[in-house]
Symmetry: C2
Subunit: 261 residues, 2 copies
């Protein structure tokens, strides 16, 4: 049963919520629905495309997509588990805006608990299902923690190679100089192509990619100190890492580690 | 404001639940109320007396007291934090029986979350308060994990000394022989006095006391292996400890550690 095939059924049902817990890769083409969607990324990374934004949902973060917003969702990393909830749409402030937020421990536990149900409709008054309404109900508390990590992509062959090189070498002190030598381009034409295709600079892209990787490290490598994670993601100092992390997520790495582990 | 003084008000209120989060020692004399009570012991130990039972609520466990059951509650350990909820009484099966249960992670997170409110009445439809109903709603899932640790007490001066000696030396290989020598009594009269005053044997008392201490160690000393906890609570082998633990709690020590930490 493919999710996109039953979207109409999900929209039309009188039931409070539809739940899906999925492992493995997923690519959902551009689509829209009349319910509000919560998707929690347990491991790996998911990417969501809305109009011309290409946003990243890191591990232990959730994505809120209000009813009626056309979106494309890619869950490409092998380790990813995605937990999605289709709620009846709400007119309340928080629920009307698309957003990406870190999940706190209570949200994580409620999502774990929700795995009692999968690929099914549930009403809040069913046994133990008050927890599902409670999950929905506390989401606005995360509003101030919203993060926005843009990681655009392109099908330009040269840019595809460039991105692959970044993904393989982000943990080294990658410089613009190294990139231009690697790809036999002048700095001027490298920067121009990068910006034209991806709408952000090489440095912005690299920083974003490193932050996303560091979030994954924070979750998976509990044996690593924050400094070790800084080094593993290409930062030469803890301070530089912590500042960049704060700039992108509104939190220090230690705060996020506490929150997501 | 003393809790016992406002019990009548709590009983009579039309609100869904009354919450109290308390640090420090507490002694509530025998009393009864028309609401169902949930009390979660975050650290230390609490003792509840019902008729002639003297029950222990270890750290990270909760006590459920149905409406109308006269009870006495002692929270004596300094590290204790007690979280209590007075719910409208229910006629459903689980809620009609007094019980002591380990709290799973979801319950613990919901209780942490409930600290937004304290010494106050809350209705479930207030902002974010769905979590309080959800806490109430999932409790029956713990029914199979019920534990019953009896640790009676007595005001007999000799027995008070004996218990104090046990509390100070439970981590050593305490024997009946050592006890009788320590207190200049024959084995026969020591056992008779112990049983007369406490209604359980010296060995039962010692085992129960060690299990309660080990639960506290499981929670507080995450750096200790299960074997180290066995040794710290007077067990000479991991197997003996694990078996006694299972006998009293229905779980292996490792299972409880996973559940409460």
């Amino acid at each position: 049963m493919k999710l996109l095939d039953i979207l109409q059924e999900i929209d039309d049902s009188p039931k409070d919520v539809y739940l899906v817990h999925e492992r493995f890769e997923r690519h959902y083409d551009m689509h829209t629905h009349k319910r509000d969607q919560l998707s929690f990324v347990e491991g790996g990374v998911a990417y969501v495309t809305i109009e011309n934004e290409y946003l990243v949902v890191p591990a232990m973060h959730f994505l809120w997509i209000p009813a009626g917003v056309p979106h494309k969702l890619n869950v490409s990393h092998r380790a990813t588990q995605l937990h999605s909830f289709y709620f009846k749409s709400s007119e309340k402030a928080f629920y009307k805006d698309l957003g990406i937020y870190p999940a706190n421990r209570l949200i994580i536990e409620l999502i774990n608990f929700s795995q009692r149900w999968s690929h099914q409709f549930v009403d809040y008054n069913e046994p133990y299902a008050a927890a599902l309404f409670s999950l929905y109900d506390i989401l606005p508390l995360m509003a101030e923690q919203q993060i926005k990590l843009q990681l655009p992509t392109s099908e330009h062959p040269k840019i595809e190679q460039v991105l692959q090189y970044i993904h393989q070498n982000f943990h080294t002190p990658l410089t613009l100089n190294e990139m231009t030598e690697q790809f036999y381009m002048s700095e001027r034409s490298f920067c121009r192509l990068f910006k034209k295709e991806l709408h952000i600079s090489f440095i912005q892209y690299l920083k974003t990619y490193r932050i996303i990787q560091s979030i994954s490290f924070l979750q998976k490598r509990k044996d690593y100190s924050i400094e070790q994670i800084a080094n593993a993601t290409g930062y030469e100092s803890l301070a530089a890492f912590s500042n960049a992390f704060y700039e992108y997520t509104g939190m220090r790495p230690s705060q996020m580690r506490k929150m997501i582990t």
